[in-house]
C-alpha cells in the first residue's frame, strides 16, 4: 500500500489540535498557525500532484465489514479539489484574523479556539475526501461538534441560543441523512453485496419508490446544511452570534458540505431521481436566491446581512447543480470555491468594524471611510466579489451558472439574472450606510478622529492574500476550471444527460 497522503493531510490539523492542548499557553496560537500553514502547504502540494501531476492518491481499507463501510479517501477530483483548497487556504487566514480577539476567559481561551478550528478543518477535509457514504456521513455530522463549541463558546450574548439552534438543525438533518444512509445500504445489500463505497453504490439501481425516498432524505439533509429557504433560519442567528472567523468557517466551508453532498451523493448516486427533481430544485434554488437577497437588503445587522447574502448565493449554486449542463455544474463548483473567500472577507471586514465600534447594527455607523479608508476598501472589495463583478472569480462562476442553466431552463435562469441587481443593492446599500456620509460622533468616539485605528498589519495580512486569490482566479479561472470541468463532465455522464447543443450548431 502506498503512502496514505490524504489521510495524513486530513489528520494533520487534528494532530495540531492535540498538540495545542499540551504546549504552553502563550505559544498556542503560534503553534496552531504553524499547523494550519503546514496543512495549507500539504493541501496545495496534494492538489498540484493530483491535477498537474495526474497522481491518484486513493486509499481504500475495509472499516466496518458488517456495514459495508470503508476507510476510503480520494480520488481528488475537481469537486474535492476546490473544496480541499478552499478549506486549507481559508483556515490560516481566519486564525490570523482572530489572533487577539478570542481570549474570552480561562475556559474559552485562544488555545481552545485555535484547536476547535483545526478540528473542524480536519473533519471537513475528511468529509470532502471521503469515498464512502458512511465515512462521509460520520464526518459530515462530526463537524457539528467543534462548530457548536465555536459558536457557543466564543460568540455574542445570545450565543447559547444560536449554538443550540445550529446544533438542532444539524442533528435533525443528520438523523434524516442517517436514515437515508441506512436505506442506501439496505438497497445495496438487497442487490448484491453490501458496500457503501461510492463506486459500488453508483452501480446500485435506486430507480424505484424507495430509492426516491432515500434521495429526498439526502436532499433535505443537504438543504438544511446549505441552507435553502425555508430551512435557513438557523444561519443568520449563528452568523450574528458567532465570531467573524467562526462564521466565515461555517458559511465558507461547512455549509458547502450541503452543496457538495448534492453533487457527490444526490447527482452521482441517484441520477434518475436527480433528473426528475431537477426542475423543482432549480425553482427552489431560485426562490432561495431571491428570498435571501431581498431579506439581505432589509437587514439591519451586518452579520445577518452577510448571512442572507449567502443564502442567496447558495440558491445560485443549487440552480447551477440541478440545471445539468457541464457549464452550469462547473460554475456551481467554481462558485463554491470563490464564495468561501468573498464571504470570509465580508465577515472578517465586518468583524474588524464590530471590534472597533462594538456593535453590528448598521445604523450605528456612518462615514467610516473617513477614519478607516483601508477597512472601507476591504469591505467594498469583498462586496464587489459578492456581487460578482467581472475580475473576481465569483463573476465567472455566477455567469456560468446563469448562462449555463439558460440552455436548460431559459425562463428560470432568465429570472435568476435579477440576482445581479439585487446583489448590487444589498452590497452598495450597506456600504453607503456604513462607510459614506459625514462621520458620525459615535464613530469618532470609537474609531478616533484620524485614521490611526484603520486596519492593522495583522488584519491586512488576514484579508490581503484572499483578495489577491479572488482577483487571480477572476482573470485566470481556467487552471481551476479545467479539473472542475472534467468532474462536471463525469457527473453529467453519470446523470445520463448530454449538454444541450446550440441550436445553430445542431442544424449544421
Amino acid at each position: 500500500m502506498s503512502f496514505p497522503l490524504l489521510t495524513v493531510l486530513a489528520v494533520l490539523p487534528l494532530f495540531g489540535a492535540a498538540v495545542l492542548l499540551i504546549v504552553p499557553k502563550p505559544m498556542a496560537r503560534q503553534v496552531g498557525l504553524v499547523f494550519a500553514l503546514a496543512t495549507l502547504v500539504l493541501g496545495v502540494v496534494t492538489a498540484l500532484l493530483a491535477t498537474v501531476g495526474g497522481r491518484d492518491f486513493s486509499e481504500t481499507l475495509v472499516w466496518i465489514k458488517t456495514f459495508g463501510a470503508h476507510w476510503a479517501l480520494g480520488p481528488v477530483d475537481g469537486l474535492a479539489l476546490v473544496m480541499v483548497l478552499a478549506t486549507v487556504i481559508l483556515v490560516p487566514f481566519l486564525l490570523i484574523a482572530e489572533w487577539n480577539t478570542v481570549d474570552l476567559d480561562d475556559k474559552w481561551s485562544a488555545r481552545i479556539y485555535f484547536a476547535l478550528v483545526l478540528v473542524t478543518e480536519s473533519l471537513a477535509l475528511f468529509a470532502f475526501l471521503a469515498n464512502d457514504l458512511l465515512l462521509f456521513y460520520v464526518f459530515f455530522e462530526a463537524t457539528l461538534i467543534p462548530m457548536y463549541f465555536l459558536i457557543g463558546g466564543f460568540g455574542g450574548k445570545r450565543r447559547g441560543y444560536a449554538a443550540i439552534k445550529f446544533l438542532l438543525f444539524g442533528l435533525g438533518g443528520g438523523l434524516i441523512m442517517l436514515a437515508a444512509v441506512v436505506g442506501a445500504g439496505a438497497m445495496s445489500a438487497r442487490q448484491g453485496t453490501l458496500s457503501l463505497l461510492y463506486s459500488d453504490l453508483r452501480l446500485v439501481d435506486f430507480n424505484n419508490g424507495f430509492g426516491m425516498a432515500i434521495f429526498v432524505c439526502f436532499l433535505i439533509a443537504f438543504a438544511l446544511k446549505n441552507p435553502m429557504v425555508p430551512f435557513h433560519t438557523w444561519l443568520p442567528d449563528a452568523a450574528e452570534e458567532g465570531t467573524p472567523g467562526s462564521s466565515a468557517l461555517l458559511v465558507g466551508v461547512l455549509d458547502k458540505l450541503g452543496t457538495f453532498g448534492m453533487i457527490r451523493v444526490c447527482l452521482e448516486l441517484f441520477p434518475d431521481a436527480s433528473r426528475q427533481a431537477g426542475q423543482i430544485m432549480v425553482l427552489l434554488g431560485l426562490i432561495s436566491m431571491i428570498w435571501g437577497a431581498m431579506a439581505a437588503i432589509a437587514q439591519k445587522n451586518l452579520m445577518r446581512m452577510i448571512a442572507f447574502t449567502s443564502v442567496s448565493h447558495f440558491g445560485f449554486i443549487v440552480i447551477g447543480i440541478f440545471s445539468f449542463t457541464t457549464v452550469s455544474l462547473s460554475g456551481a463548483m467554481f462558485y463554491m470555491f470563490g464564495h468561501a473567500f468573498s464571504t470570509a472577507i465580508l465577515f472578517l471586514a465586518a468583524g474588524f468594524l464590530v471590534r472597533r465600534r462594538g456593535t453590528a447594527e448598521i445604523a450605528a455607523y456612518g462615514g467610516v471611510q473617513k477614519v478607516a479608508p483601508m477597512l472601507a476598501a476591504v469591505f467594498l472589495i469583498g462586496g464587489l466579489s459578492s456581487l460578482a463583478l467581472p475580475g473576481f472569480s465569483s463573476f465567472v462562476a455566477e455567469f456560468m451558472v446563469i448562462a449555463g442553466s439558460f440552455a436548460r431552463h431559459p425562463i428560470l435562469a432568465g429570472i435568476s439574472s435579477i440576482g445581479v441587481v439585487l446583489s448590487a443593492m444589498y452590497i452598495l446599500g450597506t456600504y453607503q450606510k456604513v462607510f459614506t456620509g459625514p462621520v458620525t460622533d459615535q464613530v469618532v468616539n470609537t474609531f478616533g478622529a484620524d485614521t490611526r485605528r484603520d486596519l492593522s498589519w495583522r488584519e491586512r495580512i488576514a484579508v490581503g492574500p484572499l483578495i489577491a486569490l479572488l482577483l487571480f482566479f477572476g482573470f485566470f479561472p481556467q487552471p481551476l476550471l479545467a479539473p472542475i470541468a472534467d468532474t462536471a463532465a463525469t457527473t453529467m455522464h453519470q446523470v445520463g444527460l448530454a449538454d444541450p447543443t446550440p441550436t445553430l450548431k445542431g442544424n449544421n
Binding site: I64, K65, I145, G152, R159, G160, Y161, A163, I164, L167, G172, V229, P230, F231, T233, W291, M294, A295, I297, A298, Q299, T326, V327, G367, K370, P373, L389, P390, G391, F399, M400, I402, G404, F406, A407, A413, G414, S417, V420, V421, A424, L428, G429, Y431, Q432, T436, G437, P438, P477, Q478, L481, A482, I484, A485, A489, D499, P502, T503, L504, K505
Partner: protein, 646 residues
Amino acid sequence: MDLSHTIMFSYAWLLIAIPLAGATILLLLGSAAKKWGHWLGTAVALASFVYGACLFAEMFLAPAEQRATDVPVYTLIDVGTWHVTFGLLIDQLSVLFILLITGVGSLIHIYSIGYMAHDERRSRFFGYLNLFIAAMLLLVTADSYLLMFFGWEGVGLASYLLISFWQERPAAAAAGKKAFVMNRIGDLGVILAMSLLFTTVGSVQYSEVFAAANRIPVATATLIGFFLLLGACGKSAQVPLQAWLLDAMEGPTPVSALIHAATMVTAGVYVITRSGAIFDHAPAAATGVVIVGTVTMLAGAWIGTSKDDIKKALAGSTMSQIGYMMMAAGIGGPAYAYAIFHLLTHGFFKANMFLGAGSVMHGMDDDVNMRRMGGLAKFMRITTVTFAMGYLAIIGFPLFSGFFSKDHIIVAAFGYNPVIGICAMIGALITAYYMTRMMLLTFYGKRRWVEPQEANPNRLPVRHPHESPLTMTIPLIVLALFSIGAGLLMNHWIGQWLHPVTDPAHPHEVTFGEGLIEAFTNPLAWITLVLVAIGIGLGWLVFGRNRDIPLEAPRPNLAEQIGRNDLYGDAINNAAVVHPFLAGTEGVAKADEGIIDGVAVGSAGVIGGLSTQLKRAQTGYVRSYAVTMTAGVIVVGLVLILGQLA
C-alpha cells in the same frame, strides 16, 4: 492576413496593462504616492495614448483588408461547449475609440492635476482615472461579448468610485450607488443577450457570432437585440434608464467630462454599432433603438432647457446628443459611421464644455448655478473662447465639427422616416436654444455677483473669478481646436475608414465622401440651419439683451417645471419600482423572522420538548451541553468500534 505579426500589435495587451498597472500602484500605495501620484497617473495615460497612436499609424499605413486584427492572449474559459478567449480585436472601429479614450483621457488627466490640486486624495483620484482608462480600453478592444462585459462592468465600477469620490457628501454617495444599480439593470440585459448567444450560436466571440448572425432565427435575434438595447440604455443613460446621469454630476467635473460625456456613456452606442450584424437581422430591435434614441434625444434637450445648474444642463445635453447617436445606430447601414462620427466630435466638444464648466466653477468657488454667474467673459478669456468653440460645434454652426456629424444624422433620419427626421430637426433647434441660454447666462449679460472689495447693496454672492492655471487651460485649448476642426478633418475620411467594419454588406457604396458639398446643397441642411438660427434667436430674446436674471428661479411654467424635475424620471421610478420593491424586502425580512423562523423554532421546541432547554441555553449554560455532546460522541464512537469487532 492581418497585423497580428507586428510587434506593436502582438503586445497590444500592454495598452490595457499599462493603465491597469498605474491604477494598481496608485491605489495600493494610497497616501504614500501623494507627492507624485498625479504625475504617474498622467504619464501612464500618455503612454497608452502613444501606444494607441502607434497602433493607429501602423493600421493607417496598412492596406484596408489587413487592418482588422485579432490578437489572442490566453484562454479565459474552456468548459463543456464554451470556448472563450481573452483576445483583443484592434480594428478600424476600436482604434478610433482607443485614440478618443487615451487622447481625451490624457488631456483630462492633465487638467485634473490643476483641478484636484487641493484635494487630499488626489493620487487616489488618479488611480481611479487610470482604472477607468484600462477598463474602457478593454471594453472597446475585447473580441468577445464576455470580455467586453469585463470592461463594461469595469467602467461601471470606475464610474461608481468617481461619482462618489467625495463620499462624505451623502448626495455623492447616493448618486454613485444609484448609477451602479441602474447600470446593473442594463447589465442584466447584456447577460441575457450572452446567454441567448451561447444557446443559439454556441459562442460569444464576435467573429463567430457575426458570421452566424444571419442564420439566427429572427425572433431570437430580435430578443438579443432588445437585451443589448437594455444594456445600452443603462450605460448610455437612455430612456427608461436615464435617471442616474443627472445625479452623476455629483462627481468631480473632470469625471463628468471624461466618463459621463466623452467616453463611458457612449459605450452603448459602441455595442450597438459593433453588433450591427445582429441588428441588421432584427429590424424590430433596430427600430427600438431608433425610438429610444429619438425619445431620449428630445427628453435630454428638454431637461437641458430648464436646468440652472451648468453641469446638469450639460448632462441633459449629453443624453440628448447620445440620443442622436443611438438614432443613427438604429438606422444602421451607412448611418453606423455617422453614429461613430458624432460620438467622436461630441467627445471633443462636450469634454471641452464640461472642462470649461469646471474652469468656471474653479473661478467661482465651486458654484454651479448659472443664475449666480453672468459677465464672466471678461474675467476668464480662455475659458470663454474655448467654451464658445464647443458651443458653436454642438449647435452645428457651419464648418464646426458638430455641423458635419449632426447633419449626416438628420439627413439619414429623414431617409429613414420623416417623423424621426422632423424630431431630429426639432432637437437641433432646442439644442441651439439651451446652449445659447447657457452661454448667455454664464459668460455674458449682467454680472450677478460682486468682487470682495465692491459695494454689495443687492446682497449678491461674493466671488473673485479668475482664469484657471495652464494645466487646465491647455487641455481646453486642444479640445477647442478639435471642436472646430474634427469635422472637417474626418468628414471625407471616416466613412471610408469604418466601412469594412460597420457596413461590410455594401462594399462599393461610397456614402458620404462628398459630405462637405452635400451639407450645403441638401435642402435639409439649410432648413436645419434656419432652425438653429431660430433657436439662437429665441435664446437671445429670453436671456440676452442685457436682461435682468433673477438670482432665484421665477415660478416656472409647466414645461420648465417638468424639465427641472427631469421629466419626473425619479418620481416614476420610485413610485413604480423602488418603493414597492423596498416594501417587499421589508415584508420578506419580517416574514422570515416571524413566520419561517417562528414555525421552525416552534416545531423544534414542541417535537423535542426542548423549549425549556432553549430558554436555559439562552442563559448561557453551554458547559452542560459540552458534557452531553462529549458523552454522545463517545457513545457513537463505541458503537462504531463494536461494529468493527462484530
